[in-house]
Structures are given as C-alpha cells and as structure tokens.
Symmetry: C2
Subunit: 498 residues, 2 copies
C-alpha cells in the first residue's frame, strides 16, 4: 500500500469506494431481504401455532456443521435458506407452547423482535446520554417501572443487562464493594443462599473474584424455601467463628420448584445483622403484576438489589435482564470509573443531570436492549401481560389438579407460581426413580413436548414450567394426555416383562 503518488492514492480510493459501497444495501434489496426474513419468521410461527406442528425438538443433531466464512458473497436467499434449514430444523423451539422444559427464556412476541431490529438498523448508541438521550431515557423509564413494581423508593439506579447472570454478577460486585471488603478477607466472607438458588450466583462469585468466599446453603423447609430461623442461626455461628457474613440471596421463584423464599422474614434477619439482601426474581418477578400475588412479594421492597428477567416473565425475546439497586450511588460507585485516566478525560461526555448506562454497568458499548422491552410494553399495554401471567398461574393449578385427581402421580408441592413437579407411582418392585427417568425419556423422545427433571434429595421428579405466552388450557390438556398415555405404556411394558 505504498502510494507515493497523489494520483495513485486518489485512484485507489475511488476503486475502494466502489467496492465497499456494496455495504450500503439499496432500498429495493432491503425490501427483498426483509420480505424473505419475515417469510421465514411467519413460516416458523405457523408451524408453532398449529397444534399438529412440527416436533418441538429434533433429536438428530448430526450434519448441522455451519458453513464456512468465505471471501466471496453468498446470495441472500441461500444464506437465509441455510439459516432456515439449520436454525429451525434442529434443536428445541423455544416459542413452542409445549416448551415446558426450562423457565422459557422468552418467546419473542413480534414487537419485541422488531425491538431487536430497529435499533440494530439505526445502530442506536444507548449507553451515553449525550449520544442517544431518548434511548437512555427509555431505558431509565423501564428501570423506573420495574423499581415501582417492587416498591423501591427514589434514589435507586439500575441497568438493562443481557440476562440474569450478568445482572447477578453486577449485584454481587456492588454488594461486595458496598462493604468495602478487602480482597485479603474474601475467603472469610459468607454469602447465604439455599440449595435452590440459581447457579448464576456461584458463577458470578467466580467472576467477581470471590471464589474463595464461603457460599453457605442454608436449609429449606418442605416447600423448598429458605427458612429465616435457620439462616439466622447460621449467621450467628459464622460470626462467632470470625467469618464475615455480608450477603443473602433470596429467590422469588426458584427455577427448579417455583418456590418463593420468605423475603420479609429474611429481610428482618438481614436488617438485624446488617447484611445486603439481594432478591433473585429473574423468573418470578413479573408475577408481581398480578394483584392476587402481592402477598408473595411482601418484603421485596426492603431488599438492597433485585434482578428480574423481562425475557422470562414479559415473554420477550432473549437477552434482556434488569438489575435495580436501591441505593443507586452504590451501583455507580462500583461500575463507574472512580478516576478516569487523564488522556480520556476529553472523551467523557457525561452529564450530572442524566446518568448514562455505561456509568451504571460493566458494559460500555452494547445493543439498545431496552427497545425489545419497550415496544411490547407500549404496543400491548401492561394489562395484557397481567392477564397472560395470571393465566400461567391458573394453568399450573389446573394441571396440578388434573394430575392429582388421577391418583397415578405424586405431587410434592402445590404450585405457588407456574412450575409443577410430579412423578408417576411405579409398578410394584420397580424403582420409582428409574421408572420416572424412563418416563421423561419417553415423553421427550417424540418431540411433542419438552420437559426436564428435578432431583430433590435423591428423588427424581418431572418438572413442567409454564411461562410461554402461547401455552393455553388445550396445551396443558394435551400434555396431560401425553403423560398419562406414556405412563400407561411404560407401566404395561414393565408388567409384560415381569
């Protein structure tokens, strides 16, 4: 690229402009590309919404090696065809009404998808107020709405992360810093949770440098909830042993059992011992929209930080979690640079009036995630979400009752939220764990439904999580029939072998 002659340089620049101008896709091509994309989306949704749809899960995952990245362009239709053949035709379809296997990570209502599209096209830079004041204010408004939902007073601050793990990691760092803990004491620090606390906490501790800290799993009651008394006993013992209790993680809706820890009682303990109370409401948080559920959320307003996942309870596309810290200054202290390196000082276009997201999270540039949450909330209104969440709660009770009435299943827990645990009684002489493991395999084998297990103590249960906006009564009826049918077959096969 030694271009000594001015003429050479101008010629080369003219050539390169022509070559690189391909990146500016023309309007007519955009229309064709968009049309093709929407066709794929519609075809997929057609599949899903028909009850006689394609399997929820294709088990044969061979032959899905991704294509190479090549020097030359590939026709857009071929690229889309490849995506269609591969993305859609293998794996699990998360938007399916019988996706009951994990707490669904969003089902992608259409406006949410457009909320992924529009800012990606505008390339909205949503992390500095100066650059995109509207995006920042929209995200702040969403955080305010979440804070209001849980009764946080003014003075809070938060951020919109990629999901619960990153939000939890940040909450851990803030709680760590709020105590001005020295690294030399990390190994003496104690974090309290239960066996059912999500492993995002353990993962986050590794990230924030506290792998050596003590992660204390306090006993749960028969509903798999933390007990405040056991927690307090443990804290006292730890203090006497010279350890440094500093953080309690309470869960509003454990992913495995749907249990809600007694937050108010735990808040009493935290208050007495001056511990940071973090509430993991990633799964259960948005059930606070349902009037009848208010009692489950008593005490959440007393916590120091909350994580809630719109891509779960608001049925939106994956990649949107919200962290709110009651004392916003503490979040800023952890995330903002205490001292900007002097050479970058001229680059800090921050305003005192409007805090920017990059001062309140560990991320600098990132996508304008708020749009995926903003569009559906505006377009549908909060009332629809309230109704959909109430429906999920009632579906769980409905399904629980139906299973119970048959007398063929053991149900360890009346559902508080939208998770139902059950296991089939086993034929005489057959190990109940093996029987249910086999039952789960049979249920998942033909791809009509997707469920996961929960191993409680040494007991193996099946687990159904109802949180897809497409799941209605008829789907739970179908799920129920499948379970009874497979159970019947399995029971029969054991008897014919006996």
């Amino acid at each position: 690229m030694e271009l000594t002659q001015e003429h050479d340089l101008l010629q080369r620049l003219a050539d390169l402009k022509v070559k690189s101008s391909v990146l500016e896709v023309q309007e007519v091509d955009r229309e064709a590309m968009t049309k093709k994309t929407v066709q794929l989306i519609n075809a997929q949704d057609d599949n899903i919404t028909r009850l006689t749809c394609d399997p929820i899960k294709i088990l044969d995952q061979a032959g899905f090696e991704a294509d190479e990245i090549s020097e030359s362009p590939v026709d857009f239709d071929s690229v889309m065809q490849e995506l269609n053949d591969r993305l859609v035709r293998a794996g699990v379809i998360p938007g399916h009404p019988l996706f009951l296997g994990f707490i669904p990570s969003g089902q992608g209502t259409y406006p949410s998808a457009l909320g992924g599209f529009l800012p990606a096209a505008f390339n909205t830079y949503s992390v500095i107020h100066l650059e995109s004041p509207a995006a920042v204010q929209m995200e702040n408004r969403l955080i305010q709405w979440v804070a209001d939902l849980f009764g946080y007073p003014a003075g809070h601050a938060g951020n919109i992360s990629s999901g619960g793990s990153l939000a939890t990691l940040t909450a851990l760092a803030v709680s760590r810093d709020s105590r001005r803990l020295k690294a030399a004491h990390f190994h003496r620090c104690v974090i309290y949770c239960s066996e059912f606390t999500h492993y995002a906490v353990q993962k986050g501790l590794g990230a924030v440098g506290m792998r050596e800290a003590v992660l204390r799993k306090t006993p749960v009651d028969t509903s798999f909830k933390m007990t405040a008394a056991a927690l307090e006993k443990q804290i006292k013992e730890d203090k006497e042993a010279g350890l440094l209790p500093f953080l309690v993680v309470a869960t509003v809706g454990t992913t495995l059992t749907g249990s809600v820890d007694p937050v108010d009682d735990i808040a009493d303990v935290c208050e007495r011992h001056q511990l940071w109370l973090h509430v993991d409401a990633a799964y259960g948080g948005f059930f606070a929209l349902c009037d009848d559920m208010k009692q489950l959320f008593v005490g959440v307003e007393r916590s120091d930080s909350i994580v809630v996942n719109p891509h779960k309870g608001l049925f939106i596309s994956s990649g949107v979690g919200v962290l709110v810290v009651k004392d916003g200054g503490k979040l800023q202290q952890t995330c903002s640079l205490q001292q900007t390196p002097s050479v970058f000082e001229g680059m800090q276009f921050f305003s005192a009036e409007h805090l920017s997201p990059c001062e309140l999270s560990f991320e600098l540039t990132r996508s304008f995630r708020g749009a995926q949450m903003w569009l559906p909330l505006k377009v549908f209104g909060v009332g629809v979400f309230r109704a959909a969440l109430e429906e999920k709660l009632l579906l769980a009770r409905y399904f629980y009752r139906k299973l119970k009435e048959t007398g063929e299943f053991e149900l360890p827990l009346e559902p508080e939220l939208s998770v139902v645990l059950f296991r089939a009684t086993a034929p005489p002489g057959v190990d109940i764990n093996n029987f249910n493991q086999q039952l789960l395999n049979d249920l998942n084998s033909d791809g009509k439904v997707f469920m996961t297990p929960a191993v409680l103590g040494d007991q193996y249960y099946l687990r159904v999580c109802i949180l897809c906006f497409r799941t209605h009564m008829e789907h739970m009826d179908l799920c129920f029939s499948l379970i009874r049918e497979k159970r019947g077959h399995l029971w029969g096969s054991f008897q014919s072998n006996a």
Copy 2:
C-alpha cells in the same frame, strides 16, 4: 384468585386465553408493523446518505422525556412515531459518514440489523448446544474465523460478548485464574498497560475483584506506543519489590491515537517473565484482513487472549464483541461451574463433543449475537470488508496529507490505522489549547460533523476516527473544508478582537 369451583377455573382460563392471545400478533398485523419499521429505517438512511442531510447531532436535548408505560395498549403507529421523533431527532447519528468522534460502534449494515431481527423473532437460544446446535456452531465458526485471522492454533476457545468491556472483563478473570492467584495476594498483583490502554481494563479490574491490584502504566514512545524495554525494566523492579506481575495488556489500535503497541517485542518480555499477554484489538483487530497491514500484527499469535469488536471493524450493529483465549481450557475453567449444585444436575444438557457458550462465558441466557455478524459476513463476503478497511486506512493518510499540506496544522503522528490527530496553529499571543478547544466547539456546533478531542500530555488535539462504512473521499473533503473554514473564522475573530 380463589377458584374453588372447577367451573370457575375453566371459565377464568377461557377468559384469560382470549385476553392474552393478543400477544400472538397475526400475520397481517405483522406485515403492517414490519412495513412501518422498515419505512422508518429507510427514511433515516435516506437522510444519512444524502450529503445535505440532517445534522449528525442535535444539540437541544430538552423535551425528550420518554413516555410512560401504561396499562392500555398504544397504537403501533404512535409508538413508532414516538420512537422516530425521539430516537432519530435527538443525539448523535452513529451511522453518519461524518461521525468521526468516537471509534464508531458499528454503523449497522442492513444484513446485520436483520441478524438482530431474525433470532429475536425465532428467540433462538444460542447458549446450549442441545437447544440450538446450529446457532452454537455458527458462533463457534465465527470464533474460529477470528482465531485463524490472528494465527491462533487449535485448542483455543472464545465467546461472543456484548462488546469489548465484557470481553475484557472475562479475559482479566481468566488471566487471574490461570495463575491461581489467591485473593489475599490481589493487592500485590501487577497489571501492565500504557496510559493509552482503554479504560475498559480499569473498569474490568474493579469487576473481577482486583481493584486493589497495581495497574502500572508504563511509558510510551513518541508514537504513543508501549516500549518493551521500559515494560521489562518495570517488571524487574516490581519483582524485586516482591510484587506479582501477571498480566500485560497490549493494544492493537489505541482508540485515542490509533497506535499499535509492538506486540512481538512485548511477547518476548511476557515469555521471559511468564506473564499473560492480552491483546486488546477491539478497534484495530480487523485491519489484519488487509494484506499490507500484516506486519503490525506480528506477535499477536503469541498472545494468550485477544479481544476484537466486530461492531467496530466489521461495520455491524452495536453489541458484538469477540474474546478468544488461546488455551480454551482456561476459559472454560473460569467460566464453567466447577461443580454444579446437585439439584441442578438434571438440568445440565451439556455435551462433551460440543462445548456450549454458557460454559465459556459469564452469561447464561443472552441473545444470539452471532447472527448480527454471520449475516453480513456471508451476504457480503470477506472481500468487501477487506476493501472497506483498506479504504479507511487510505482515507486517514489522505486526510493527514491534506491537513499537512496547508501548513496551518500540527500533526503529531502519521496515522498507522484510521485515527488522525491534529491541531491548528494559533494566532500569535493566543493559547494553542484554548484556540483548539474553541475550534472543536465551533466544528461540532452546527452538527455537520462530530469530532472529539485527545489531550496528550497537556496538549489539546482534535481527533478524527475514520471507521464508518459510509465515509468516503468526498466526506473527508467536506470535513477538511469545514475545518479550514472554521479555523479561518476563528483566527479572524481573534484578530478583530486584538
């Protein structure tokens, strides 16, 4: 919600199904919604691509308070109108060809935007191989492609993060863990960088629990590059003082000056002292695609980890960073759970054959970011990016020469990549820093161009970063004319005041 009667429950479920079914937007509405969205995008791009476009930056940011979240739905067109009025009509337009102020965080080529749309609509769950094998394999293929670009051998592993900060945070954690550093020793640990190393490193250190560690800024040469000799001297002194040197961050393309640290020399030092070498190529990395630039990347293949931002050098929409760690096992060791809590064991659908992204990053659920990178690379082919990047390099040289030829500007550094620093000479008796601060204000005031400063030592420079795919020779000509014009006016005003 006390529903004792079976009949009540069924009736309530039927009602709620009707209410919540609104979330399943029908095909005809989707078409209308998509059309409206694309109209907005096209209108914005029309604005941008005309040279007589709307200002790049609207300074009056008052009155952009975001609307409330309301109980009732808002008509889609009104929501979009609000977005249009607010997002587009305030702040800085990052896709503008005269957005020269920051290393552009992506300009959002259209296929990249579709790559934000499609997976959000499919709600592709890209972090566990079992759930979405094709998405995982596509992301792994992209990581492989990046690793190949920098000459990493087999055995590496990586992840696609939201951007450079999260990728850097993760690299710091991996380097920390690779040395099995105890928290008790964090305050004795030393990280080496230069004054020009991006503050993401300082921010990340706070996140990973190492705020107490020593962040040593070693001297730079006259091109603002780290010097291996000064680095080694400092390491020796620190070792003698009983400190624990463990990590060096070298930068391939500092954001402030576009300088490339001498990675090969630094790698020698790291090898001799057994330090982790992390290469921050967030801005400069993809220039490795240009054949003539190979010499700048010598030694990068000897590093232990690399961060590169596709949303910079690949001109794609914000929110896509790539981390690659040479010894993939180390990344997994830091990010994967060492021991899964027993109750969650049944939930771990991991395969030994295919590592899942959630085992190689701190994030669990997140969006399928790979699509924003995959689509443009496939649709345009690598060749176009190569041409576009070469164009940016030549534009920087072209612009540098033009400024230099006038004799009216001081240029402290011949551009190596696509950043150009300059300042106007000041009229006699006028402080050169004040003069240039005023010049920058004047340039940014009418929104025709957007630039930022760089304060080097106590000298104030203006800074132009060329990395938008829309920036061509005519834009640099326009930028040049604006600078000369404003400089002339400013000079005149000082003389008339004198």
